[in-house]
Symmetry: C2
């Protein structure tokens, strides 16, 4: 079958599945209306002047069947002080969803997540401000909703849904810290700008150095200024706020993954992109065998519960991970890859794949060039009669060099030494350090078997990590 035809069939099949049917739509819309009303009443009950409105994908009719999120915003008067905003809103939200399961969440300020009739509902406060006079990040949301409602033609809603589902499938959807990907609003803007799902993918498949989109021509005649103003590889000027790049939180890794997946999709369109096959974890014997034969060293720093909401948790996990990678590299360990895993509850792990756990015991240590006489004297004084000196000092390429015993030859002991007091000095973030201080395990290769066996999600993650290959990559290119 010609590729173009396959592509059309794939998109049609997916669209059929992800567009809410009448029944589901009616249920969600009814639920949203009810909640809007309840929140408004609760605000009144507490004597708070609030404009309550449905926002988000349900309001814009761009939500995916089976995955509705009802976002109810309450716009509160700027007279409420910032520190009290969350408290006031939580009180109202709790009353409005009395009896439902409630979870306190935190993005820029606290909000409430409730589960009503099996549907996730977010009740979020913001300030009622004029455009441009934002007092908090969420103040823009109602303006975003209005903009999309105005500019997204009804037939484009399916295109937004396709794009969201594609991005979910390849793991680049979601603005939360864990993902660092494309937000729903960003997807809508891309469809408004390019007109269709396929056009968006075509544009990104051709992505070179940078992509800058200014739908509302805020920078008309000042395109040079625009190029200089933002330095991210992807810039989508917010139609409701010319000072903001809607894509500023998109991590390059996610952007590049989207680019590569778009290309692969055109070569060989397939449902895989939208519905990635479930990972079947390797049997634990097979895992041990794989790690054994691989020849590299997989090192796991495993630790327990961290007291932080997901966005904070992931931010600290990523930061700490980078610090540890840096520590290993500074000590000459060669990292093949590294990643981090968390169930956001009781189990966290930093994972490093090293070329080798053990380094050779001797290394070169470059001293100053001969031109720097004073530095040379200090270098010689330090190394000439030093028991750590194995050879030299000698001159090479115009500088003094010594061969010295390596301080850390074992990655495990290096990590242990640096983490024993929580690792703050090694750059471990605060909440993570608190947990590490209570204890952690460092496991190598097959030693991970127990954790692996006890935790299916971790087992899937590790199986995917060992393969390394994106799920959509395999078939597409082999046949292409």
């Amino acid at each position: 079958m010609p590729v173009q035809e396959t592509l059309e069939i794939v998109c049609k099949t997916v669209l059929e599945k992800i567009t809410p049917k009448l029944e589901e739509r009616e249920k969600i819309e009814r639920l949203a209306k009810t909640l809007e009303k309840k929140v408004a009443e609760a605000a009144e009950y507490f004597g708070v002047k609030a404009t309550v409105r449905l926002e988000g994908s349900v309001a814009k009719d761009t939500w995916l069947s089976g995955e509705p999120d009802i976002d109810i915003f309450m716009r509160l008067p700027p007279s409420i002080p910032r520190f009290a905003l969350g408290e006031v809103a939580l009180k109202i939200a709790r009353k409005a969803t009395e009896g439902a399961k409630q979870v306190e969440r935190f993005a820029e300020h606290p909000y409430l997540e409730a589960f009503v009739e099996g549907v996730r509902v977010n009740i979020v406060p913001c300030y009622e401000t004029k455009r441009g006079e934002w007092l908090s990040a969420t103040d823009r949301t109602p303006y975003h909703t209005d903009y999309v409602k105005k500019c997204l033609r009804p037939q484009m809603r399916g295109e937004v849904r396709l794009l969201k589902k594609f991005m979910k499938g390849i793991g680049v959807y979601g603005a939360e810290i864990k993902i660092g990907g494309f937000s729903g609003y960003l997807c809508e803007l891309l469809i408004i700008h390019y007109g269709s799902f396929v056009n968006v993918l075509r544009a990104f498949a051709q992505h070179k150095q940078r992509m800058v989109i200014d739908i509302e021509n805020h920078y008309k005649g000042r395109e040079d200024e625009l190029q200089l103003l933002f330095n991210e590889p992807l810039v989508i000027v917010d139609p409701v706020d010319m000072g903001r790049n809607v894509a500023s939180a998109v991590q390059p890794q996610k952007l590049y993954t989207f680019v590569a997946a778009s290309r692969a999709f055109f070569k060989n369109p397939s449902l895989k992109f939208f519905y990635p096959p479930q990972t079947k974890p390797l049997a634990v014997k097979k895992l041990e065998e794989t790690l054994q034969n691989r020849g590299s060293a997989l090192i796991f720093v495993v630790f327990g519960r961290v007291d932080a909401v997901p966005d904070v948790l992931w931010g600290q996990l990523y930061k700490s991970q980078r610090s540890l990678a840096n520590l290993l590299e500074t000590n000459d360990f060669v990292i093949l890859r590294h990643t981090v895993w968390s169930d956001e509850e009781n189990l966290n792990a930093f994972i490093f794949e090293l070329e080798s756990r053990i380094l050779p015991p001797v290394k070169r240590h470059l001293g100053p060039p001969l031109e720097k006489n004073g530095d040379c004297e200090r270098f010689l004084t330090k190394h000439i009669a030093n028991p750590e000196t194995v050879s030299g000092p000698y001159i090479e390429d115009g500088r003094w060099v010594v061969e010295v015993k390596r301080k850390h030859v074992d990655a495990i002991s290096l990590l242990k030494e640096n983490l024993k007091d929580g690792g703050r000095k090694a750059g471990i973030a605060k909440e993570i350090a608190k947990t590490l201080n209570k204890g952690f395990k460092i496991l190598v290769n097959g030693e991970i078997a127990e954790v692996y066996t006890e935790n299916t999600e971790f087992a899937k993650f590790l199986t995917d990590f060992l393969s390394g290959k994106p799920k959509w990559l395999d078939k597409t290119v082999k046949e292409g």
Copy 2:
């Protein structure tokens, strides 16, 4: 004792030893005269018009007691074709030194080395040309002799001797390929320019980026041009040929060694610089123990006689050594140091000290950046279903990456594979390759014991190599 006083005593002691006493001087001068006459007679005998004259350090009275080299030059008419020059000269030289031990040598053209009354005599041909109309490199020599005789005041001869002896002691004296150091003529020019041994050392102790000396002011008013004309870090314009840098063959390594030794000498003047203590080779047991405990891998490529005169031999050894170092580094082996040894007769060895003989079996292989769509497709096609691929391809920092099995994990097998046919493809020079083709051994660490035991000079060399530290460095700085 104050440093300045020690320095003066050291210089005086050395000068005393290296200045030829009357008896030795008379013997050498008589011998030189006799040889001059014999060569002239031999030339006449063969009907060759030749201007025969004593050149070199004996002619300039800058030779070191106990180490005289008598250089007799015969200047031949330009009518003799280049290819015949050596033959004609050898015939004459052989007749002139009949009965003495004779060795044919080769620098730019053949010349004869003879041992007469225990003294080395070099009988060298050149063309009788006007200044600037050089037909061969040695044609300048008589002009050099005349220049030095004219400009070197008698009291400076001792200064030249001190400088030469110092340079010999630290291993930077001699223009031959093996050394790549300072020639006798260069020493004389430095003394003419700076006035004394101590002044030369002081100048080099302060050596920064570059040193450019133009004694005869050939480039007066055109200093900028001079700076651009030569690109070596040390430039001494030849007083008899403004187009030539007398120091062009000085290897940076030798220049920097001289700089560092000069500094060390001022900090702690000592006879060590002029008379380095003999190396006592490590007992073979101690050697094996040292290699064992060191933790690095010493790899020796040992081979037999190479059919080439010393300058050609060393040129080819150095070139081949660089090629092998390059081969190892291209394959990710970390070289701590490498060197080459030869007795110029039956034993040659390339020596590599590696961090590790064995590399980890997996490595990262960086593919093209995402921007290069076509390259990415080729990369993916190549690696996606490749049995050498261990993980990936995956995206990292905007480019495709795979983890692959390393081709060569063992430095020994890498070297063996590349040397088995002589190693021409790996960059081994021609004559060396001929020898390697007949056979070679690759020895690791303690396996060198047999060669070490059988060859004292090699044993000394290896003992020094393992220490790595220049002999003059130890004491000078520790006390400084």
